[in-house]
Symmetry: C3
Subunit: 342 residues, 3 copies
């Protein structure tokens, strides 16, 4: 096992500076690397660790090459090359096809022999899996759910009936897809009448859904997660939300019902997005921002607990927030001065 | 299957304008409706979809009737009528009574033959269920828990020992009821001494608890969720909290320990409520508000990341927050002018 | 069963004022206490309940003794003494050693006969448990995981492969330890390339992890939770975070990747800590604060939705925030006056 630097350079289109026959067996951080490992430098925060690294080689940008004491693979996007090298050197364990005797399959389920179904998994009637699907221990999949090829559902995740998952998805443990949306009509006596949630959830291909993330089924019609969307842990997605292709959303974000988010957006952690609004394609929203209304233009927005604004204006206002008591005192002084003078 | 408009008008007390013999088979949104379906108009955001709807009929207010091109059921509260019609046309699948062979029941459990217990469910010793209770796959119910009639516990939810659930509740997947409250006493050496959490959780009738919502057991005495409370997903309820009847709370809200919330409150998403405080009945709190102290009067409060204020004052202050850098510059200009003038 | 006040006073080093032969059987709050129970007064909020308590005895500070109508145990830290007395009078039910027939153990697992493994638990190949470990129903433990002695993993929690848990830990239901960190490199076509998450999670001794809390595995190298850390419910800990010994973190807090938090910190509920920063030892951060940058000095910080500041300055600024519209109007008035005067 292991790869030579020459093989890596050819495979990933990098310029190699160093011995093409050197072998690396695994990836490591610059600080913890031992000989035989390959590190990378993408975030300038870690540049100071370059000089003393024990790595056999480092993946980095040409601009950082001068400071590198060891062999290097020079790339325009070192992080993307690192991702590919790491996947090459540290492949996932292969599937162990088969259905564990302690798994439970309902009637009329379709489970190709290339799938791995672990102990305690429960597939209700009519579940249909693509080739090489992996179902972790104690996963529960509701009636009639279809799962695309090469999708992995990790231990303990729950997929309700009425959900459809694409191919090559990863659903982490504790995720719940397809629970009822939150819909109630208040009655005159103050009690709440449940509004039936009769839609489903459509999840595209290459979607990753984090641990304990919840995606509600549609009230009418489906909640929709497009191809390539990546959701971190503990995200809440309300009923009938639509998230566009390749949008990423960091941990503990929340999206209220019936909101549409565009493609290729980057939504920071803990962002709160109101219901019934629209976010354009290619929008970046900083962590913690609340988004009470639509954002119709691409751009970078921030608001850390306050409504979304342009990043520049929000940063300035946040600095002023820290001076607010001082500003108020200065205003009082001005007022006194004017009153005294007149 | 299907109902005539005449049947629906009589059953739900609406004025029918159109052919009483027209049949509808399901509900739909105005935009997606096909002939044979019935739509509704409650949120004015969707009024523009009325003119072109393909629905056979629409449930709406009298004020919107003039613009409706198809048959209509006129109601004072179209959303509540819609909820009832949807429940009529899209009933839940009937229970399939019986105990799956892969479910595990402890000693001295009481499970009426009208109950449905799915595969992998584990009921500890002394669990007692009412009639027609549904226990989803891989649910775990702790020792001695009592569950009221017609309650549904969805796949993978966990109910600890010491919890009591009322009738007609819905507990969604991933919910955890009765884990230890967060109680520690810091020791002189900096370590934390666990304070035993010896209370339980009492949940009333008609309560709905969302996916991955957590309700901690009391430290001493019980955490209490009154009849008709509706909790969305990913809500955290601390030990010894009391939530009054028919209060609704949206996703990712949190309530710290020993706080009492009144009846019929509407708590927005991501609201953070401090511990050891009191919220009156009929309080509405806007999404994202932090509530550091008691709210003793009914009313509408907001604070989006800042402490709760009246909605009107908070909105004004939020507008000013967006002008804060500009205000600071204007103050500086005034100060310069005064100094120059004097 | 039950203890005399004399026994308790000796065992926990308190001054007893009252009859040493009085017996107490359980703990209670001052308000709900019946004869035969022992209450405590630690939080001054509850002082008014002292006069009318029906408790047989109260644990309190000397300063509160004059107002106490019943026997008392006088202590410097009544809450810590209460915690010990409660643990004494309300011990956890004893383990029931054994492996339930409906549990599933992989190859080469090491399970001492003192352990309790409940129904539906799934231990993958190579899992090794210390003495007296308790594994709840439907828990899933990944390949090769090691668990220290006397640790309790509650029903439905999921431990991925590559995790190591210390001794005397408590992992609550719904917790997920070791899911993939959130690492993606954006490609030129806008899609996201997954960065393999090949590290693990190291959890020390005496750690408590709340319900539905998620701790991601390291991208490279391990995420690290030191001895004595206590995490409440619904906390998200990103990849390669390090949390120092005896730090406590309240519900719904979040820590982004590669951040290091010191020892003995107290992090309030819903606090949001950015990635790649450092928090010193002995830092206290108020609930809801966002922490965008490192905090290098011990102290008390707050920011309720705004960036962390000293508690005093934040409180002042928050008061001013509530006056912001008024300040802006006053500034406008000053500007008008100056323009008129000149």
């Amino acid at each position: 096992m292991g790869m030579t630097l020459g093989q890596l350079a050819v495979r990933y289109g990098c310029e190699l500076r160093g011995d093409p026959d050197s072998v690396v067996h695994g990836v490591a951080t610059l600080a913890s690397a031992a000989p035989g490992s390959i590190g990378f430098l993408a975030n300038p925060v870690y540049r100071s660790q370059l000089a003393s690294t024990q790595a056999t080689a480092v993946i980095l940008r040409a601009a950082d090459a001068a400071e590198c004491p060891v062999a290097m693979l020079v790339a325009q996007d070192p992080y993307a090359v690192y991702a590919r090298v790491a996947a090459e050197l540290h492949p996932l364990p292969p599937l162990r096809p088969g259905i564990h005797t302690a798994a439970v399959l309902g009637a009329a389920t379709l489970v190709p022999s290339s799938c791995q179904i672990d102990a305690g998994a429960v597939l209700a009637d009519g579940v249909s899996l693509g080739e090489r699907v992996s179902i972790g221990a104690n996963v529960v999949i509701g009636e009639g759910v279809a799962v695309g090829a090469d999708t992995r559902i990790c231990a303990g995740a729950v997929i309700y009936t009425g959900v459809r998952l694409g191919s090559r998805c990863i659903i982490h443990s504790g995720a719940v897809i397809g629970a009822d949306g939150f819909g109630f009509a208040r009655e005159r006596d103050g009690s709440q009448l449940k509004v039936p949630q009769i839609g489903g959830v459509l999840v595209g291909d290459d979607v990753e859904i984090g641990a304990c993330t919840t995606i509600d089924r549609g009230a009418i019609g489906d909640t929709f997660i497009a191809d390539g969307v990546k959701l971190d842990n503990q995200i809440q997605v309300g009923h009938n939300v639509r998230i566009g292709a390749h949008t990423v959303m960091a941990g503990q974000a929340g999206v209220s019902g019936s909101t549409t988010i565009g493609a290729r957006c980057t939504i920071g952690g803990r962002v709160a997005i109101a219901g019934h609004i629209v976010i354009a394609d290619d929008v970046v929203i900083g962590g913690g921002t609340s988004v009470p209304g639509s954002i119709l233009e691409p751009g970078i927005y921030a608001g850390g607990g306050t409504p979304a604004d342009t990043l520049q204006r929000w940063r300035r206002n946040m600095v002023r927030f820290g001076q607010l008591d001082e500003l108020a005192r200065r205003l009082r002084a001005v007022e006194k001065r004017i009153n005294r003078d007149s």
